[in-house]
Protein backbone atom coordinates (compact mmCIF):
# COMPACT_ATOMS: atom_id res chain seq x y z
CA UNK A 1 0.00 0.00 0.00
CA UNK A 2 1.32 3.44 -0.93
CA UNK A 3 2.21 5.53 2.05
CA UNK A 4 2.36 9.24 2.63
CA UNK A 5 5.51 10.96 3.85
CA UNK A 6 5.40 14.06 6.03
CA UNK A 7 8.60 16.04 6.58
CA UNK A 8 8.97 18.66 9.27
CA UNK A 9 12.05 20.88 9.19
CA UNK A 10 13.39 22.05 12.56
CA UNK A 11 15.97 24.65 13.38
CA UNK A 12 17.55 22.89 16.34
CA UNK A 13 18.03 19.49 17.92
CA UNK A 14 15.78 20.14 20.93
CA UNK A 15 12.66 20.86 18.92
CA UNK A 16 13.35 17.92 16.58
CA UNK A 17 13.66 15.57 19.58
CA UNK A 18 10.47 17.11 20.99
CA UNK A 19 8.69 16.42 17.69
CA UNK A 20 9.73 12.76 17.77
CA UNK A 21 8.39 12.47 21.35
CA UNK A 22 5.08 14.12 20.38
CA UNK A 23 4.73 11.88 17.32
CA UNK A 24 5.27 8.81 19.48
CA UNK A 25 2.72 10.20 21.92
CA UNK A 26 0.27 10.64 19.04
CA UNK A 27 0.47 6.91 18.38
CA UNK A 28 3.02 6.71 15.54
CA UNK A 29 5.06 3.50 15.94
CA UNK A 30 8.90 3.97 16.02
CA UNK A 31 9.46 2.32 12.61
CA UNK A 32 7.30 5.01 10.93
CA UNK A 33 9.55 7.80 12.20
CA UNK A 34 12.95 8.88 10.95
CA UNK A 35 15.26 11.81 11.53
CA UNK A 36 17.24 13.41 8.68
CA UNK A 37 20.41 15.27 9.64
CA UNK A 38 23.38 16.84 7.89
CA UNK A 39 25.89 15.20 10.16
CA UNK A 40 26.19 12.20 12.44
CA UNK A 41 24.59 12.42 15.88
CA UNK A 42 25.04 9.87 18.67
CA UNK A 43 22.58 7.00 18.31
CA UNK A 44 19.26 7.74 19.97
CA UNK A 45 19.92 11.52 20.15
CA UNK A 46 16.37 12.13 18.88
CA UNK A 47 14.81 9.05 20.43
CA UNK A 48 14.75 7.41 17.00
CA UNK A 49 14.29 3.68 16.42
CA UNK A 50 17.24 1.47 15.35
CA UNK A 51 16.70 -1.80 13.48
CA UNK A 52 18.99 -4.80 13.66
CA UNK A 53 21.42 -5.33 10.81
CA UNK A 54 23.51 -8.07 9.26
CA UNK A 55 26.44 -6.00 8.03
CA UNK A 56 29.03 -8.22 9.67
CA UNK A 57 28.07 -11.13 7.42
CA UNK A 58 29.20 -9.21 4.32
CA UNK A 59 32.98 -9.05 4.99
CA UNK A 60 33.01 -12.73 5.94
CA UNK A 61 31.22 -13.69 2.74
CA UNK A 62 33.53 -11.44 0.72
CA UNK A 63 36.64 -12.87 2.36
CA UNK A 64 35.50 -16.44 1.60
CA UNK A 65 34.75 -15.57 -2.04
CA UNK A 66 38.08 -13.71 -2.45
CA UNK A 67 40.02 -16.59 -0.91
CA UNK A 68 38.30 -19.05 -3.26
CA UNK A 69 39.11 -16.88 -6.31
CA UNK A 70 42.72 -16.56 -5.12
CA UNK A 71 42.99 -20.35 -4.74
CA UNK A 72 41.44 -20.92 -8.16
CA UNK A 73 43.78 -18.41 -9.78
CA UNK A 74 47.00 -19.65 -8.18
CA UNK A 75 46.37 -23.39 -8.18
CA UNK A 76 44.55 -23.31 -11.51
CA UNK A 77 47.30 -21.48 -13.39
CA UNK A 78 50.05 -23.72 -12.01
CA UNK A 79 48.15 -26.91 -12.83
CA UNK A 80 47.17 -25.63 -16.30
CA UNK A 81 50.81 -24.95 -17.18
CA UNK A 82 52.80 -27.44 -15.08
CA UNK A 83 56.40 -26.27 -15.02
CA UNK A 84 58.57 -27.64 -12.24
CA UNK A 85 61.33 -25.21 -11.29
CA UNK A 86 64.24 -26.02 -8.99
CA UNK A 87 62.69 -29.36 -8.00
CA UNK A 88 60.09 -27.52 -5.92
CA UNK A 89 56.48 -28.74 -5.60
CA UNK A 90 54.23 -27.70 -8.44
CA UNK A 91 51.75 -26.09 -6.04
CA UNK A 92 54.04 -23.81 -4.05
CA UNK A 93 52.13 -22.84 -0.91
CA UNK A 94 54.03 -19.66 0.22
CA UNK A 95 53.58 -17.68 -3.02
CA UNK A 96 50.03 -19.00 -3.37
CA UNK A 97 49.26 -17.75 0.15
CA UNK A 98 50.32 -14.21 -0.82
CA UNK A 99 47.94 -13.96 -3.76
CA UNK A 100 45.16 -15.78 -1.86
CA UNK A 101 45.55 -13.39 1.08
CA UNK A 102 45.28 -10.35 -1.19
CA UNK A 103 42.23 -11.91 -2.88
CA UNK A 104 40.64 -12.56 0.51
CA UNK A 105 41.16 -8.98 1.68
CA UNK A 106 39.95 -7.54 -1.63
CA UNK A 107 36.79 -9.63 -1.40
CA UNK A 108 36.25 -8.54 2.21
CA UNK A 109 36.60 -4.84 1.34
CA UNK A 110 34.34 -4.96 -1.74
CA UNK A 111 31.61 -6.90 0.08
CA UNK A 112 31.85 -4.60 3.12
CA UNK A 113 31.26 -1.55 0.96
CA UNK A 114 28.38 -3.28 -0.81
CA UNK A 115 27.00 -4.27 2.60
CA UNK A 116 27.20 -0.71 3.90
CA UNK A 117 25.38 0.59 0.82
CA UNK A 118 22.77 -2.17 1.04
CA UNK A 119 22.18 -1.77 4.79
CA UNK A 120 21.95 2.03 4.38
CA UNK A 121 19.04 1.34 2.00
CA UNK A 122 20.95 2.85 -0.90
CA UNK A 123 20.89 3.50 -3.79
CA UNK A 124 17.59 5.32 -3.57
CA UNK A 125 16.42 6.08 -7.08
CA UNK A 126 13.27 7.98 -5.99
CA UNK A 127 14.52 10.85 -3.87
CA UNK A 128 11.40 11.11 -1.67
CA UNK A 129 10.71 13.99 0.66
CA UNK A 130 13.80 15.97 1.43
CA UNK A 131 14.89 19.52 2.17
CA UNK A 132 18.30 20.91 1.14
CA UNK A 133 18.40 22.94 4.36
CA UNK A 134 19.17 19.68 6.18
CA UNK A 135 22.77 19.79 4.96
CA UNK A 136 22.99 23.35 6.31
CA UNK A 137 22.29 22.29 9.88
CA UNK A 138 18.51 21.96 9.98
CA UNK A 139 16.94 18.74 11.28
CA UNK A 140 14.23 16.90 9.35
CA UNK A 141 11.69 14.69 11.10
CA UNK A 142 10.14 12.29 8.64
CA UNK A 143 6.91 10.37 9.14
CA UNK A 144 5.94 7.61 6.73
CA UNK A 145 2.38 6.55 7.44
CA UNK A 146 -1.07 6.05 5.97
CA UNK A 147 -2.82 9.08 4.46
CA UNK A 148 -5.39 9.37 7.23
CA UNK A 149 -2.61 9.99 9.78
CA UNK A 150 -1.15 13.01 7.95
CA UNK A 151 -3.17 15.52 9.96
CA UNK A 152 -1.98 14.08 13.27
CA UNK A 153 1.63 14.23 12.09
CA UNK A 154 1.22 17.87 10.99
CA UNK A 155 -0.26 18.85 14.35
CA UNK A 156 2.50 17.16 16.37
CA UNK A 157 5.22 18.84 14.32
CA UNK A 158 3.58 22.27 14.51
CA UNK A 159 3.35 21.99 18.28
CA UNK A 160 7.05 21.09 18.43
CA UNK A 161 7.94 24.25 16.47
CA UNK A 162 8.59 23.03 12.93
CA UNK A 163 9.67 25.84 10.59
CA UNK A 164 8.26 24.09 7.55
CA UNK A 165 6.06 21.02 7.04
CA UNK A 166 5.53 19.27 3.73
CA UNK A 167 3.86 16.03 2.73
CA UNK A 168 4.00 13.83 -0.35
CA UNK A 169 1.69 10.99 -1.24
CA UNK A 170 2.79 7.70 -2.73
CA UNK A 171 6.17 7.21 -1.04
CA UNK A 172 7.37 4.23 0.78
Amino acid sequence: MARTEVLGVFHDEESAADAVSRLKGAGFPPHELDVLTGTAYPEGAFGEHMDKHRLFVFPLMGAACGLAVGLLLTAGTQISYPLVTGGKPLLAIPPMAIVMYEGMMLGAIIFTVLGIIFESRLPRFRPGLYDPRITQGYIGVLVSSSEDRVGAAHRAMEQAGAEDIRSEHGQG
Binding site: Y41, M105, I109, I116, R121
Partner: protein, 458 residues
Protein backbone atom coordinates in the same frame (compact mmCIF):
# COMPACT_ATOMS: atom_id res chain seq x y z
CA UNK B 1 44.28 21.05 21.64
CA UNK B 2 43.98 24.75 22.38
CA UNK B 3 42.92 26.62 19.25
CA UNK B 4 39.23 25.98 19.00
CA UNK B 5 36.45 28.04 17.58
CA UNK B 6 32.78 27.23 17.15
CA UNK B 7 31.67 27.24 13.53
CA UNK B 8 28.14 26.86 12.20
CA UNK B 9 27.21 24.16 9.69
CA UNK B 10 26.63 26.78 7.02
CA UNK B 11 30.04 28.33 7.65
CA UNK B 12 31.73 24.92 7.48
CA UNK B 13 29.95 24.21 4.18
CA UNK B 14 31.00 27.57 2.75
CA UNK B 15 34.63 27.27 3.86
CA UNK B 16 35.28 23.67 2.92
CA UNK B 17 33.35 23.70 -0.36
CA UNK B 18 34.89 26.96 -1.56
CA UNK B 19 37.68 25.15 -3.46
CA UNK B 20 35.03 23.05 -5.24
CA UNK B 21 32.61 25.86 -6.00
CA UNK B 22 35.07 28.58 -7.00
CA UNK B 23 38.08 28.30 -9.23
CA UNK B 24 40.81 30.87 -8.57
CA UNK B 25 43.23 31.84 -11.31
CA UNK B 26 46.06 30.19 -9.35
CA UNK B 27 44.36 26.83 -9.89
CA UNK B 28 44.52 27.14 -13.68
CA UNK B 29 48.12 28.35 -13.59
CA UNK B 30 49.29 25.49 -11.36
CA UNK B 31 47.24 22.87 -13.25
CA UNK B 32 48.53 24.21 -16.59
CA UNK B 33 52.16 24.03 -15.49
CA UNK B 34 51.71 20.48 -14.21
CA UNK B 35 50.06 19.37 -17.45
CA UNK B 36 52.87 20.99 -19.46
CA UNK B 37 55.52 19.14 -17.49
CA UNK B 38 53.64 15.86 -17.88
CA UNK B 39 53.43 16.42 -21.65
CA UNK B 40 57.23 16.71 -21.66
CA UNK B 41 57.48 13.46 -19.71
CA UNK B 42 55.28 11.72 -22.28
CA UNK B 43 57.79 12.68 -25.00
CA UNK B 44 60.61 11.18 -22.91
CA UNK B 45 58.58 8.01 -22.33
CA UNK B 46 57.90 7.77 -26.05
CA UNK B 47 61.66 7.88 -26.69
CA UNK B 48 62.26 5.25 -23.98
CA UNK B 49 59.75 2.87 -25.51
CA UNK B 50 61.16 3.48 -29.00
CA UNK B 51 64.87 3.16 -28.17
CA UNK B 52 64.62 0.80 -25.20
CA UNK B 53 65.70 1.13 -21.57
CA UNK B 54 69.33 1.69 -22.57
CA UNK B 55 68.20 5.19 -23.52
CA UNK B 56 67.91 5.89 -19.77
CA UNK B 57 71.44 4.71 -19.06
CA UNK B 58 70.33 1.49 -17.40
CA UNK B 59 72.77 -1.29 -18.23
CA UNK B 60 74.15 -4.49 -16.74
CA UNK B 61 74.66 -4.94 -13.79
CA UNK B 62 72.59 -1.94 -12.63
CA UNK B 63 69.31 -2.94 -14.25
CA UNK B 64 67.17 -1.47 -11.47
CA UNK B 65 67.82 2.17 -10.73
CA UNK B 66 65.79 5.36 -10.63
CA UNK B 67 62.55 3.89 -12.03
CA UNK B 68 62.37 1.19 -9.36
CA UNK B 69 63.48 3.73 -6.72
CA UNK B 70 60.46 5.81 -7.73
CA UNK B 71 58.23 2.75 -7.52
CA UNK B 72 59.32 1.95 -3.95
CA UNK B 73 59.22 5.63 -2.97
CA UNK B 74 55.63 6.17 -4.16
CA UNK B 75 54.38 2.92 -2.67
CA UNK B 76 55.92 4.19 0.56
CA UNK B 77 54.16 7.55 0.30
CA UNK B 78 50.88 5.77 -0.33
CA UNK B 79 51.16 4.06 3.04
CA UNK B 80 50.51 7.13 5.12
CA UNK B 81 46.98 7.65 3.95
CA UNK B 82 45.50 4.49 5.23
CA UNK B 83 47.86 4.29 8.18
CA UNK B 84 46.85 7.71 9.47
CA UNK B 85 43.22 7.42 8.54
CA UNK B 86 42.65 3.88 9.87
CA UNK B 87 44.66 4.05 13.05
CA UNK B 88 43.25 7.43 14.01
CA UNK B 89 39.70 6.28 13.30
CA UNK B 90 40.14 3.08 15.27
CA UNK B 91 41.59 4.98 18.24
CA UNK B 92 38.97 7.79 18.04
CA UNK B 93 41.70 10.42 17.76
CA UNK B 94 39.81 13.71 17.43
CA UNK B 95 42.54 15.52 15.50
CA UNK B 96 42.13 13.11 12.59
CA UNK B 97 39.10 14.93 11.18
CA UNK B 98 40.72 17.43 8.77
CA UNK B 99 43.61 15.09 7.94
CA UNK B 100 42.02 11.81 6.87
CA UNK B 101 40.72 12.49 3.39
CA UNK B 102 43.80 14.33 2.13
CA UNK B 103 45.86 11.40 3.40
CA UNK B 104 43.61 8.85 1.68
CA UNK B 105 43.62 10.81 -1.58
CA UNK B 106 47.40 10.99 -1.45
CA UNK B 107 47.38 7.20 -1.06
CA UNK B 108 45.36 6.70 -4.22
CA UNK B 109 47.37 9.01 -6.47
CA UNK B 110 50.71 7.89 -5.06
CA UNK B 111 49.74 4.28 -5.65
CA UNK B 112 48.61 4.92 -9.23
CA UNK B 113 51.93 6.68 -9.88
CA UNK B 114 53.87 3.87 -8.21
CA UNK B 115 52.12 1.25 -10.33
CA UNK B 116 53.23 3.04 -13.52
CA UNK B 117 56.92 2.55 -12.79
CA UNK B 118 57.25 -1.24 -13.11
CA UNK B 119 55.18 -0.93 -16.29
CA UNK B 120 57.54 1.76 -17.67
CA UNK B 121 60.53 -0.25 -16.46
CA UNK B 122 59.39 -3.25 -18.48
CA UNK B 123 60.38 -1.20 -21.55
CA UNK B 124 57.48 -2.72 -23.46
CA UNK B 125 54.44 -1.75 -21.33
CA UNK B 126 51.92 -3.53 -23.53
CA UNK B 127 53.59 -6.84 -22.74
CA UNK B 128 53.03 -6.54 -18.99
CA UNK B 129 49.52 -7.81 -19.55
CA UNK B 130 50.99 -11.20 -20.57
CA UNK B 131 52.90 -11.44 -17.33
CA UNK B 132 50.25 -10.34 -14.88
CA UNK B 133 46.79 -11.32 -16.08
CA UNK B 134 45.64 -14.91 -16.63
CA UNK B 135 44.03 -14.41 -20.00
CA UNK B 136 45.97 -16.42 -22.58
CA UNK B 137 43.47 -19.26 -22.92
CA UNK B 138 44.48 -19.99 -26.53
CA UNK B 139 48.08 -20.94 -25.81
CA UNK B 140 47.51 -22.07 -22.21
CA UNK B 141 50.31 -19.86 -20.89
CA UNK B 142 49.62 -18.33 -17.49
CA UNK B 143 51.34 -15.87 -15.16
CA UNK B 144 53.98 -17.35 -12.88
CA UNK B 145 52.48 -16.99 -9.39
CA UNK B 146 55.85 -17.88 -7.90
CA UNK B 147 57.22 -14.56 -9.13
CA UNK B 148 57.02 -11.25 -7.21
CA UNK B 149 55.91 -9.78 -10.56
CA UNK B 150 52.52 -11.30 -9.75
CA UNK B 151 52.52 -10.55 -6.02
CA UNK B 152 53.09 -6.83 -6.59
CA UNK B 153 50.11 -6.24 -8.91
CA UNK B 154 47.81 -8.31 -6.71
CA UNK B 155 48.81 -6.35 -3.59
CA UNK B 156 48.68 -2.96 -5.30
CA UNK B 157 45.34 -3.71 -6.95
CA UNK B 158 43.84 -4.74 -3.60
CA UNK B 159 45.22 -1.70 -1.82
CA UNK B 160 44.20 0.74 -4.56
CA UNK B 161 40.67 -0.68 -4.82
CA UNK B 162 40.30 -0.70 -1.05
CA UNK B 163 41.59 2.87 -0.64
CA UNK B 164 39.36 4.19 -3.46
CA UNK B 165 36.27 2.47 -2.03
CA UNK B 166 37.17 3.72 1.44
CA UNK B 167 37.30 7.32 0.21
CA UNK B 168 34.06 6.96 -1.73
CA UNK B 169 32.06 5.35 1.08
CA UNK B 170 33.08 7.95 3.64
CA UNK B 171 32.49 10.76 1.14
CA UNK B 172 28.84 9.93 0.30
CA UNK B 173 27.36 12.44 2.84
CA UNK B 174 29.63 15.18 1.46
CA UNK B 175 28.46 14.38 -2.06
CA UNK B 176 24.90 14.93 -0.81
CA UNK B 177 25.90 18.38 0.49
CA UNK B 178 27.36 19.21 -2.93
CA UNK B 179 24.17 17.92 -4.59
CA UNK B 180 22.10 20.25 -2.43
CA UNK B 181 24.23 23.26 -3.36
CA UNK B 182 24.90 22.57 -7.06
CA UNK B 183 22.78 23.18 -10.13
CA UNK B 184 22.50 21.71 -13.63
CA UNK B 185 24.92 19.02 -14.75
CA UNK B 186 26.98 19.27 -11.57
CA UNK B 187 23.87 18.59 -9.50
CA UNK B 188 23.09 15.48 -11.58
CA UNK B 189 26.70 14.34 -11.21
CA UNK B 190 26.73 14.64 -7.41
CA UNK B 191 23.17 13.28 -7.12
CA UNK B 192 24.21 10.13 -8.99
CA UNK B 193 27.33 9.68 -6.89
CA UNK B 194 25.59 10.18 -3.52
CA UNK B 195 23.10 7.41 -4.41
CA UNK B 196 20.09 9.30 -3.04
CA UNK B 197 21.54 9.92 0.44
CA UNK B 198 19.11 11.69 2.80
CA UNK B 199 20.96 11.49 6.10
CA UNK B 200 18.59 9.15 7.93
CA UNK B 201 19.62 7.84 11.34
CA UNK B 202 20.22 4.42 9.78
CA UNK B 203 22.48 5.85 7.06
CA UNK B 204 24.56 7.75 9.62
CA UNK B 205 24.83 4.66 11.77
CA UNK B 206 26.38 2.73 8.88
CA UNK B 207 28.67 5.64 8.05
CA UNK B 208 30.09 5.30 11.55
CA UNK B 209 30.46 1.55 11.22
CA UNK B 210 31.96 1.93 7.72
CA UNK B 211 34.81 4.07 9.02
CA UNK B 212 35.72 1.55 11.70
CA UNK B 213 35.10 -1.67 9.75
CA UNK B 214 36.90 -0.71 6.53
CA UNK B 215 39.79 0.72 8.60
CA UNK B 216 40.15 -2.59 10.41
CA UNK B 217 40.13 -4.57 7.15
CA UNK B 218 42.42 -2.29 5.16
CA UNK B 219 45.07 -1.93 7.87
CA UNK B 220 46.56 -5.43 7.35
CA UNK B 221 46.51 -4.81 3.58
CA UNK B 222 48.70 -1.73 3.98
CA UNK B 223 51.25 -3.78 5.94
CA UNK B 224 51.16 -6.55 3.34
CA UNK B 225 51.70 -4.22 0.36
CA UNK B 226 55.08 -2.86 1.39
CA UNK B 227 56.13 -6.26 2.73
CA UNK B 228 55.49 -7.64 -0.73
CA UNK B 229 57.37 -4.74 -2.34
CA UNK B 230 60.32 -5.53 -0.04
CA UNK B 231 60.20 -9.16 -1.16
CA UNK B 232 60.88 -7.97 -4.73
CA UNK B 233 64.36 -7.40 -3.30
CA UNK B 234 64.57 -9.94 -0.49
CA UNK B 235 63.61 -12.87 -2.75
CA UNK B 236 66.44 -12.01 -5.12
CA UNK B 237 69.89 -13.49 -4.53
CA UNK B 238 71.60 -10.08 -4.59
CA UNK B 239 73.64 -10.17 -1.35
CA UNK B 240 72.71 -6.84 0.22
CA UNK B 241 69.03 -7.35 -0.63
CA UNK B 242 68.64 -10.94 0.51
CA UNK B 243 67.62 -10.04 4.05
CA UNK B 244 64.78 -11.17 6.31
CA UNK B 245 64.57 -7.73 7.95
CA UNK B 246 63.48 -6.09 4.69
CA UNK B 247 59.70 -6.44 5.17
CA UNK B 248 59.41 -4.56 8.52
CA UNK B 249 62.24 -2.21 7.46
CA UNK B 250 60.37 -1.23 4.29
CA UNK B 251 57.03 -0.91 6.10
CA UNK B 252 58.38 1.44 8.79
CA UNK B 253 60.31 3.38 6.13
CA UNK B 254 57.08 3.75 4.15
CA UNK B 255 55.27 5.07 7.22
CA UNK B 256 58.13 7.49 7.92
CA UNK B 257 58.06 8.96 4.42
CA UNK B 258 54.27 8.70 4.11
CA UNK B 259 53.36 10.54 7.30
CA UNK B 260 55.93 13.19 6.40
CA UNK B 261 54.31 13.53 2.96
CA UNK B 262 50.85 13.91 4.49
CA UNK B 263 52.20 16.69 6.71
CA UNK B 264 53.74 18.41 3.68
CA UNK B 265 50.42 18.11 1.85
CA UNK B 266 48.48 19.53 4.81
CA UNK B 267 50.73 22.62 4.91
CA UNK B 268 50.32 23.18 1.17
CA UNK B 269 46.52 22.64 1.22
CA UNK B 270 46.16 24.92 4.24
CA UNK B 271 47.95 27.71 2.43
CA UNK B 272 46.54 27.13 -1.07
CA UNK B 273 42.87 26.80 -0.03
CA UNK B 274 43.07 29.13 3.02
CA UNK B 275 42.01 26.47 5.50
CA UNK B 276 43.68 28.00 8.57
CA UNK B 277 40.50 27.60 10.66
CA UNK B 278 40.45 23.85 10.06
CA UNK B 279 44.09 22.78 9.83
CA UNK B 280 45.56 24.39 12.92
CA UNK B 281 48.98 24.29 14.62
CA UNK B 282 47.41 21.63 16.90
CA UNK B 283 47.24 19.25 13.94
CA UNK B 284 50.88 19.83 13.02
CA UNK B 285 51.79 19.37 16.67
CA UNK B 286 50.02 16.01 16.72
CA UNK B 287 51.60 14.94 13.42
CA UNK B 288 55.02 15.98 14.72
CA UNK B 289 54.57 13.89 17.87
CA UNK B 290 53.51 10.94 15.72
CA UNK B 291 56.55 11.36 13.48
CA UNK B 292 59.03 11.09 16.37
CA UNK B 293 58.45 7.41 17.30
CA UNK B 294 58.04 6.54 13.61
CA UNK B 295 61.38 8.20 12.76
CA UNK B 296 63.14 6.52 15.67
CA UNK B 297 61.62 3.15 14.75
CA UNK B 298 62.75 3.54 11.14
CA UNK B 299 66.28 4.42 12.27
CA UNK B 300 66.43 1.27 14.41
CA UNK B 301 65.59 -0.93 11.40
CA UNK B 302 67.98 1.00 9.14
CA UNK B 303 70.78 0.53 11.66
CA UNK B 304 70.00 -3.17 12.09
CA UNK B 305 70.07 -3.76 8.33
CA UNK B 306 73.32 -1.84 8.02
CA UNK B 307 75.00 -3.37 11.09
CA UNK B 308 74.07 -6.96 10.26
CA UNK B 309 75.58 -6.46 6.80
CA UNK B 310 78.88 -5.45 8.42
CA UNK B 311 78.72 -7.98 11.28
CA UNK B 312 78.48 -10.93 8.89
CA UNK B 313 82.07 -10.23 7.70
CA UNK B 314 81.06 -11.57 4.29
CA UNK B 315 82.83 -9.76 1.44
CA UNK B 316 79.68 -9.68 -0.69
CA UNK B 317 77.74 -8.06 2.16
CA UNK B 318 80.44 -5.52 2.98
CA UNK B 319 81.17 -4.50 -0.64
CA UNK B 320 77.89 -2.57 -1.25
CA UNK B 321 78.35 -0.76 2.08
CA UNK B 322 81.88 0.28 1.05
CA UNK B 323 80.33 1.71 -2.12
CA UNK B 324 77.72 3.57 -0.06
CA UNK B 325 80.15 4.95 2.51
CA UNK B 326 83.39 5.63 0.66
CA UNK B 327 82.80 5.80 -3.09
CA UNK B 328 81.63 8.97 -4.85
CA UNK B 329 78.91 9.88 -5.64
CA UNK B 330 77.22 7.37 -3.31
CA UNK B 331 79.09 8.59 -0.21
CA UNK B 332 77.87 12.16 -0.79
CA UNK B 333 74.33 10.90 -1.32
CA UNK B 334 74.64 8.82 1.85
CA UNK B 335 75.55 11.88 3.94
CA UNK B 336 72.65 13.87 2.45
CA UNK B 337 70.35 10.91 3.07
CA UNK B 338 71.19 10.37 6.73
CA UNK B 339 71.08 14.08 7.57
CA UNK B 340 67.81 14.74 5.77
CA UNK B 341 65.97 11.56 6.74
CA UNK B 342 66.96 11.48 10.39
CA UNK B 343 69.63 13.75 11.91
CA UNK B 344 67.97 17.10 11.08
CA UNK B 345 64.21 16.40 11.21
CA UNK B 346 63.72 13.92 14.06
CA UNK B 347 65.54 15.85 16.82
CA UNK B 348 63.91 19.09 15.64
CA UNK B 349 60.43 17.57 16.20
CA UNK B 350 61.23 17.33 19.90
CA UNK B 351 60.77 21.11 20.03
CA UNK B 352 57.18 22.29 20.38
CA UNK B 353 57.93 25.46 18.44
CA UNK B 354 59.00 23.43 15.41
CA UNK B 355 55.98 21.09 15.60
CA UNK B 356 53.54 24.00 15.77
CA UNK B 357 55.10 25.94 12.90
CA UNK B 358 53.62 24.99 9.51
CA UNK B 359 56.69 26.40 7.73
CA UNK B 360 59.19 24.42 9.80
CA UNK B 361 57.07 21.28 9.50
CA UNK B 362 57.01 21.81 5.72
CA UNK B 363 60.81 22.08 5.61
CA UNK B 364 61.49 19.11 7.91
CA UNK B 365 58.98 16.80 6.23
CA UNK B 366 60.28 17.71 2.77
CA UNK B 367 63.76 16.85 4.03
CA UNK B 368 62.50 13.47 5.22
CA UNK B 369 61.25 12.63 1.75
CA UNK B 370 64.42 13.78 0.05
CA UNK B 371 66.25 11.45 2.42
CA UNK B 372 63.84 8.57 1.98
CA UNK B 373 64.07 8.76 -1.82
CA UNK B 374 67.86 8.61 -1.51
CA UNK B 375 67.57 5.71 0.95
CA UNK B 376 65.73 3.61 -1.65
CA UNK B 377 68.22 4.62 -4.35
CA UNK B 378 71.14 3.67 -2.09
CA UNK B 379 69.60 0.27 -1.45
CA UNK B 380 69.09 -0.40 -5.15
CA UNK B 381 71.99 1.00 -7.20
CA UNK B 382 75.05 0.19 -5.00
CA UNK B 383 73.50 -3.20 -4.23
CA UNK B 384 73.80 -4.07 -7.92
CA UNK B 385 76.97 -2.16 -8.79
CA UNK B 386 79.46 -3.76 -6.39
CA UNK B 387 82.25 -5.74 -8.08
CA UNK B 388 81.21 -9.35 -8.30
CA UNK B 389 83.65 -12.25 -8.88
CA UNK B 390 83.06 -12.39 -12.64
CA UNK B 391 84.47 -9.34 -14.42
CA UNK B 392 81.78 -9.27 -17.11
CA UNK B 393 79.28 -8.22 -14.39
CA UNK B 394 81.30 -5.13 -13.46
CA UNK B 395 79.88 -1.87 -14.63
CA UNK B 396 79.14 1.71 -13.75
CA UNK B 397 75.94 3.68 -13.59
CA UNK B 398 75.12 7.37 -13.80
CA UNK B 399 71.68 8.86 -13.38
CA UNK B 400 70.54 10.34 -16.70
CA UNK B 401 68.66 13.58 -17.24
CA UNK B 402 65.75 11.58 -18.66
CA UNK B 403 65.42 9.59 -15.45
CA UNK B 404 65.31 12.86 -13.54
CA UNK B 405 62.60 14.21 -15.87
CA UNK B 406 60.52 11.09 -15.28
CA UNK B 407 61.08 11.42 -11.52
CA UNK B 408 59.98 15.07 -11.46
CA UNK B 409 56.98 14.08 -13.58
CA UNK B 410 55.89 11.55 -10.99
CA UNK B 411 55.66 14.37 -8.43
CA UNK B 412 53.71 16.44 -10.95
CA UNK B 413 51.32 13.56 -11.62
CA UNK B 414 50.54 13.11 -7.93
CA UNK B 415 50.20 16.88 -7.43
CA UNK B 416 47.86 17.15 -10.43
CA UNK B 417 45.76 14.23 -9.16
CA UNK B 418 45.34 15.76 -5.70
CA UNK B 419 44.65 19.20 -7.21
CA UNK B 420 41.95 17.89 -9.57
CA UNK B 421 40.39 15.82 -6.81
CA UNK B 422 40.18 18.86 -4.56
CA UNK B 423 38.52 20.78 -7.40
CA UNK B 424 35.75 18.20 -7.74
CA UNK B 425 35.39 16.85 -4.18
CA UNK B 426 35.98 18.37 -0.73
CA UNK B 427 39.51 17.58 0.42
CA UNK B 428 38.49 17.96 4.08
CA UNK B 429 35.52 15.80 5.16
CA UNK B 430 32.70 18.30 5.70
CA UNK B 431 30.34 16.10 7.71
CA UNK B 432 33.18 14.81 9.86
CA UNK B 433 34.17 18.38 10.68
CA UNK B 434 30.57 19.19 11.66
CA UNK B 435 30.41 16.14 13.89
CA UNK B 436 33.66 17.23 15.53
CA UNK B 437 32.16 20.64 16.24
CA UNK B 438 29.13 19.05 17.93
CA UNK B 439 31.18 16.71 20.08
CA UNK B 440 33.61 19.29 21.40
CA UNK B 441 33.04 21.20 24.60
CA UNK B 442 34.89 22.91 27.41
CA UNK B 443 35.01 21.81 31.04
CA UNK B 444 35.61 24.14 33.94
CA UNK B 445 38.41 22.64 36.06
CA UNK B 446 39.26 24.81 39.03
CA UNK B 447 39.96 28.23 37.57
CA UNK B 448 40.65 27.00 34.06
CA UNK B 449 38.49 25.97 31.19
CA UNK B 450 39.96 23.01 29.34
CA UNK B 451 38.89 21.52 26.01
CA UNK B 452 36.96 18.26 26.17
CA UNK B 453 35.69 15.84 23.58
CA UNK B 454 32.64 13.61 23.92
CA UNK B 455 33.38 10.16 22.50
CA UNK B 456 30.64 8.79 20.32
CA UNK B 457 29.81 5.09 20.53
CA UNK B 458 30.14 3.26 17.19
Amino acid sequence: MQDRQKLTDRQINDDLLRPVERTPRAFWIVAGLLVLELAGALVVLGLVFYWGLGFLGINRPVMWAVLITNFVFWVGISHAGVMISSILRLTHAEWRRPVTRAAEVLTVFALITAALFPVIHSGRPWRTIYWTLPYDFTRGIWPNVRSPLIWDPSAIFTYLTGAALFIYTIMIPDLAILRDRATGVRRRFYATLCLGWRGTARQWRFQGIAGILISAIILPVFVSVHSIVSWDFAMALVPSWHSTIFAPYFVIGAIHSGVAAVTTLMVILRRFFRLESYITPDHFDALGRLLIPIGLGWFYFFFMDFAIGLYSQETVDIAPNILRLFTPPYNVLFIIFIFSAFIIPVPSWFFRRVRRSPLLMLVTTLLVNVGMWLERFLIIAPGLQYKQPLTYTWGGYTVSIFELIITVSSFCLVALGVLLFSKVFPIIPVWDQKEGQRLQDEIQTGRRKVPAVILKEE
